[in-house]
């Protein structure tokens, strides 16, 4: 079965500084990987996804992630944090397994705090 591990439950940065949210995955085959963001009292929004094309994936709001098979990682980065980036971020792997359907398996989430 597929799984993801988000290494940090909380990350604090200052506005204007870089953001790094770490994610490692476990997969028996080439996975599809996603980052979703959830703002307080809002629904889940897709930031970006990797589906075996380019290993460097660019998403919305200046975020990007790099798929590194050798390290089984899919870390999320942004060069300069904005106050509006404060939210919960979920690393997600698609688990088709033997069922033929796409169940999403979520990490435990990383809460990003941005201070002025």
């Amino acid at each position: 079965a597929q799984s993801v591990t988000q290494l940090d439950s909380h990350v604090s940065v200052s506005e204007g500084t870089p953001v790094l949210l770490r994610c490692n995955y476990s997969s028996s085959y080439s996975p599809s990987l996603f980052w979703y963001v959830q703002h307080p009292n809002k629904g889940l929004q897709l930031l970006l996804k990797y589906t075996s094309a380019a290993t460097l994936v660019k998403g919305i709001n200046g975020f990007e992630a790099e798929f590194k098979k050798s390290e089984t990682s899919f870390h999320l980065t942004k060069p300069s944090a904005h106050m509006s980036d404060a939210a919960e971020y979920f690393c997600v792997v698609s688990d088709s397994g033997n069922t033929g359907f796409q169940k999403l398996v979520f990490g435990t989430g990383t809460r990003l705090l941005v201070s002025p």
């Binding site: 809002k42 897709l46 996804k49 979920f90 069922t99 169940k103 999403l104």
Partner: protein, 115 residues
Amino acid sequence: GAGVSQSPSNKVTEKGKDVELRCDPISGHTALYWYRQSLGQGLEFLIYFQGNSAPDKSGLPSDRFSAERTGGSVSTLTIQRTQQEDSAVYLCASSLGRVDGETQYFGPGTRLLVL
């Protein structure tokens, strides 16, 4: 176009009562998913519908939980004899249902509180 909608947005019920949660997927999406987000368990898969195929119920936590999808569109998640541990946000998502790795679009969720 409209996104995934869910109703009610909030539901408070008493232990032992039955509740029904509704999901309207994006028009044209054949795949529909239910997930649950709770403090203790994080985000977990519950059930999946694909077109007219039999649903995959492998994530349902107990036989008190059931779901149906009428006409391949609207879905209802029913929880019978609710317990306090059922308190959570219930999320619905839909996708085109064509390929692996396709994006699932989430609704705003129904926040369920069982007293």
